[in-house]
């Protein structure tokens, strides 16, 4: 599995996972709600993330490299002005849809900020802790358990899949085109059986240690009010930016008010 977590001992790392999850969710909602016309506001959001990254000692190249996951949507966003509906405008000799340009910019800016925030969250929190945090935020226990088991066994199953592939290749097989699908699928079938049977054995092992359908809650410390307050700084500042942007766009406010809001981050 891709390793996104960067162990560390910064204030950001030490925050309880449920606080960070809600903070990132709040930040993402603020970003999504920011009017696309307010360019400066997106710069403000980016600065906020930069401050968090600095506090967590996550180097910018680390974040940028991992933003590749959004590539398909970047392509989509770039295509929008080309294939979008009229009215059109001309830019560098190419006829582009005005609405398409706005839509493309909107997706690109908001998705990038969201992805960067998620990367920072994953970099400063272990996946396991994030699931505990999700449990604290009242995500159904059974669902969290399933995800926890998946996290525990993903490497085991991937290892089995890798060894099966090496074994196939050692006997002169190379998957090149559609005709080789049956072989790959038969391996997948064998892998499913192995996974399912391991699930049954794990269940037996759980029963043998007193499992009765409910996972015991362990090491799940509640967050203090102070920690919640610290975590609220990011979404709070982002909301201030978004609010200022709305006021400006709807023409009542004074441009630049958002900048003072930003200082809170």
């Amino acid at each position: 599995m891709r390793r996104l977590h960067r162990p560390g001992d910064t204030p950001v790392h030490r925050l309880p996972p449920q606080c960070k999850l809600l903070a990132v969710l709040g930040f993402a909602l603020a970003v999504v709600s920011t009017p696309r016309e307010a360019f400066w506001a997106f710069a403000g959001h980016a600065v906020l993330l930069g401050l968090v990254a600095a506090a967590a000692r996550v180097p910018p190249p680390f974040v940028v490299r991992r933003m590749a996951v959004e590539t398909p949507f970047v392509l989509f966003a770039v295509l929008l002005p080309v294939v979008g509906r009229g009215p059109y405008t001309e830019l560098w000799g190419v006829e582009l849809s005005v609405e398409g340009l706005w839509a493309g910019w909107n997706i690109l800016a908001k998705a990038s900020l969201g992805v960067a925030a998620s990367i920072l969250l994953a970099a400063t929190t272990e996946p396991r802790a994030l699931l505990l945090g999700a449990r604290r935020l009242r995500l159904p226990a059974l669902l969290v358990q399933i995800a926890t088991f998946m996290l525990r066994y993903a490497d085991v199953v991937l290892g089995e899949m890798r060894r099966m592939r090496i074994a196939r290749e050692s006997r002169g097989f190379a998957a090149r085109d559609v005709r080789h699908l049956p072989v790959v699928a038969k391996s997948a079938g064998a892998l499913f059986i192995r996974s399912y049977e391991r699930g049954e054995r794990v269940h037996l092992a759980m029963l043998s240690r007193g499992y009765d359908g409910v996972m015991p809650a362990l090491y799940d410390p509640p967050a203090s009010a102070r920690q919640w307050a610290v975590a609220a700084a990011l979404p709070g500042a982002a909301c201030a930016v978004a609010l200022a942007a709305w006021i400006e766009v709807s023409g009542i406010g004074v441009p630049g008010m958002g900048v003072s809001g930003m200082g809170a981050g």
Partner: protein
């Protein structure tokens, strides 16, 4: 194709979140019925399998390749309720690795877990009811179910786009383009799903949820000279008559 933050408007994201939460809640109850207290370990291991299977890339043509969504496969192998939970768990864990937006988790669960599984399961049930019972029928149905689940998911995406996306695009054109491309990807999904189900069916038919009810009913051997077959006696009686 994990939808990131900002792709849909806030109301659409929240609406999809409500749909996803309701769907997952129904599946949590259903899966408990299917698997009782084995749900967590078994669904977790099946989710790990789906996660691994998603790394199987297959050529779509023109140099591009698609990867398995896995919703149909999970539903046919583990049952529709468990299938939804498995794909949801995969999406949750991928979210932890920054794949897919936090505010878009509702959209992603709706599109990739609920729509694929519901459509695939509906198609599977529909076809197996019409086709003759047996292995070939189930495999054909698996192929169709998985194939249709992919463009269905893509069209649901376009639907959400039409409700709350931008007005920059003509929805009809987008629907046609997305549906067309994903029908092609769906063929790959269908092939892998049907072949995988076939492989499991060959070694452990009892593990294929979609094959339940397809196994032949127990046959009873009548003892020569005995009066005609008695209507469905208990299994215990069956073994005793067989001894003769």
């Amino acid at each position: 194709m994990h939808v990131p933050d900002g792709f849909f408007t806030t109301p659409v994201s929240i609406g999809a979140g409500v749909v996803a939460a309701a769907g997952v809640a129904v599946c949590l109850r259903g899966a408990r019925r299917e698997l009782d207290d084995r749900t967590a370990p078994l669904a977790g291991l099946v989710a790990a399998f789906i996660f691994a299977a998603q790394m199987l890339n297959f050529p779509v043509g023109a140099g591009t390749s698609g990867h398995l969504l896995g919703g149909a496969l999970a539903a046919i192998l583990a049952g529709p309720y468990t299938g939804v939970l498995c794909v949801t768990a995969v999406l949750l864990v991928q979210l932890l690795f920054a794949d897919g937006g936090l505010t878009a988790i509702g959209v992603n669960v709706t599109l990739m877990a609920l729509v694929t599984v519901v459509v695939a399961w509906g198609v599977l049930r529909g076809i197996t009811r019409v086709l003759p019972r047996g292995r070939a029928g189930l495999l054909a149905a698996s192929f169709a179910a998985a194939m249709i689940s992919v463009p269905a998911s893509a069209l649901a995406f376009v639907g959400l786009f039409a409700i709350g996306g931008t007005t920059a695009l003509d929805v009809g054109t987008v629907a046609l383009a997305m549906g067309g491309i994903h029908l092609l990807i769906g063929v790959g999904e269908g092939l892998i799903t049907a072949l995988t189900v076939g492989a499991v069916l060959a070694a452990r038919p009892d593990l294929v949820y979609g094959a339940r009810g397809l196994t032949a009913p127990l046959r009873l051997r009548a003892t020569p000279g005995a009066p005609g077959p008695t209507p469905s006696p208990a299994p215990g009686t069956a073994t005793s008559t067989e001894g003769a």
